[in-house]
């Protein structure tokens, strides 16, 4: 089987995503702080948090079962595996059987499910509430994500992300068809929900009224909490990478040399930076929505995605 992305490249990209995940979170937090006229923590702060957590001991609730300890590792594994499916440096189909976009969404859903199960397992009130809320939001987000993927996949005739990105080519917004605009609009609506940010979720607070994702992490501690945090950083960059692969050009598939890979890396950094800036801007300019208003907000994304699909098919 021939392809443009050998195993080594895929592994390199996966490791790169995991290493850069906390940096994106740090950059968003720094940008947000600057937008709010604060000095803000250093961009590298998420790395320091992770290093601190990994050195600490673990405390566990008496009510938690033995399964609870393995939850963080499983969540991290599922998220990192999803990261392997995102083309970062170079577009084109992989050289060996690798999952497609549906696999990626499935792995992210699995990570979400495991997080919720872990929160329920510990038996804390906040964990259960966070899990129930997360599971209320998830069925609204995931189908829309799938529809956006489908609307792009219909044009390319494949759901494999590398091939999708290759089909997008190196041309920019000028090559977008009408459906791409609506799909991208749907994606912009969904991004804050999928990355757990305002206006759907608030990553900065532990106030019980506002938290979704944070609520589920309360019972974890030490290295386990570190794993969960790293998983959520990775999840964020994987989602951004998915958007970048679906709508922005990735490095050319035929380039082999190191220069092309460097170009691809630079392009990826630029794309992620643009999307991170968008997230920071949204987070600074909107208030968090009431939980019962969230379906209406996500409804905009749903309608956009459905219209994009209709434009493709009809």
């Amino acid at each position: 089987m021939t392809g443009d992305r050998p195993l080594g490249l895929v592994l390199l990209e996966m490791i790169l995503l995991v290493l850069l995940g906390p940096l994106v979170t740090g950059a968003i937090q720094k940008l947000k702080a600057r937008l709010q006229c604060r000095q803000g923590a250093d961009v590298l702060q998420p790395y320091r948090d992770l290093a601190k957590l990994l050195r600490k001991g673990t405390v566990q609730a008496d009510t938690a079962s033995g399964f609870f300890r393995s939850i963080p590792v499983l969540v991290l594994a599922a998220t990192v595996a999803a990261g392997a499916l995102v083309p970062v440096l170079r577009a084109g189909p992989s050289a060996f059987p690798l999952g497609d976009a549906l696999m990626l969404l499935g792995l992210l859903a699995l990570a979400r499910f495991l997080t919720a199960v872990g929160a329920l397992d510990a038996g804390g009130a906040f964990g259960g509430m966070g899990a129930s809320r997360e599971m209320t939001i998830a069925p609204l987000v995931e189908p829309v994500l799938m529809m956006v993927v489908f609307s792009t996949a219909l044009a390319a005739g494949t759901t494999e992300l590398g091939a999708l990105a290759a089909h997008r080519g190196t041309s920019w917004i000028f090559a977008w068809s009408a459906a791409d605009f609506l799909g991208f609009a749907a994606m912009l609506v969904l991004l804050p929900a999928e990355t757990g940010r305002i206006p759907v979720d608030n990553p900065d607070t532990h106030l019980e009224l506002t938290m979704l994702h944070e609520g589920m992490l309360l019972e974890h501690s030490g290295p386990g909490l570190g794993c969960m945090l790293l998983a959520s950083h990775t999840r964020q960059i994987v989602t951004l990478g998915l958007v970048a692969a679906l709508f922005f050009p990735v490095g050319p598939a035929d380039g082999i040399g190191a220069a092309d890979l460097l170009l691809g890396a630079g392009a990826f950094a630029a794309k992620i930076l643009v999307l991170a800036t968008y997230l920071a801007l949204v987070e600074s300019s909107y208030a968090k929505l009431r939980l019962f208003r969230v379906p209406q907000y996500l409804g905009i994304g749903f309608v956009c995605a459905l219209t994009a699909l209709a434009l493709r098919i009809l």
């Binding site: 009408a178 605009f181 609506l182 459905l306 219209t307």
Partner: protein, 218 residues
């Protein structure tokens, strides 16, 4: 510019028009709906300019300019002024939940694409997706008018509906006679004026919005 380029640009603008329409339907605050309808008029003006460069029709340039000045600038400003003047009820008050309206809007969009596909030869003569998009905009505007209680939100729906008709007319005819377009624009200005005065009068006389005016008193 080649015909395919024009068609692609009109299609893309059609998608953006649909997006602004979705924003209008989903807006829970009246001022956001006004911004969305202003953006929609801006896209219409851009579409007019694109068609003008494509056909070399000078009338279309005038129409694009007038649309930009009147519908994208003046009318939203008037609407904002009325909102400030009334000073209460910043939120739109839907008759049925906004989520339900969104579902209906999707149905309208899908139906207009599906039905206009059956027009066959008529659709071939029209640039890109302009016909289904125009129909969808018009009908969704009517939907917005039908599902809102306050007069201001209904005005926003009317303008959106009018935008849809304007877009279709522009794409179908590649530029109507200037006098007709000017007449349409004047009609819109007049309608906005009359409705503005009416809304303010009703408010100052009976301190209620038009949804409560449902009984005749002798």
């Amino acid at each position: 510019m080649s015909a395919e380029t024009i068609q692609t640009i009109i299609d893309d603008l059609g998608a953006l028009l649909l997006f602004t329409m979705i924003l209008i339907v989903a807006a829970s605050q009246i001022s956001r709906a006004i911004y969305a309808v202003a953006a929609q008029s801006l896209f219409i003006a851009i579409a007019g300019a694109v068609l003008a460069t494509a056909t070399g029709n000078v009338d279309l340039w005038v129409i694009a300019g007038v649309t930009l000045a009147v519908k994208a600038t003046l009318l939203p400003w008037v609407l904002h002024w009325v909102v400030r003047r009334m000073n209460v009820r910043r939120e739109v008050e839907p008759v049925i939940p906004i989520a339900a309206t969104l579902v209906l809007a999707v149905a309208v969009v899908v139906m207009s694409f599906h039905l206009s596909a059956s027009l066959g030869s008529v659709r071939q003569a029209i640039t890109g997706n302009a016909l289904p998009v125009g129909i969808a905009l018009t009908l969704t505007g009517v939907l917005v008018m039908a599902t809102r209680k306050t007069a201001l939100s209904q005005m926003v729906g009317l303008f959106a509906s009018e935008n849809g008709i304007f877009f279709t007319a522009m794409a179908v005819t590649q530029g109507m006679p200037l006098i007709i377009e000017i007449g349409v624009i004047l009609d819109v200005i007049l309608a906005a004026l009359v409705m503005t005065i009416m809304v303010l009068r009703v408010r100052s006389t009976v301190d209620a919005d038009i949804a409560e005016l449902d009984r005749l008193r002798g």
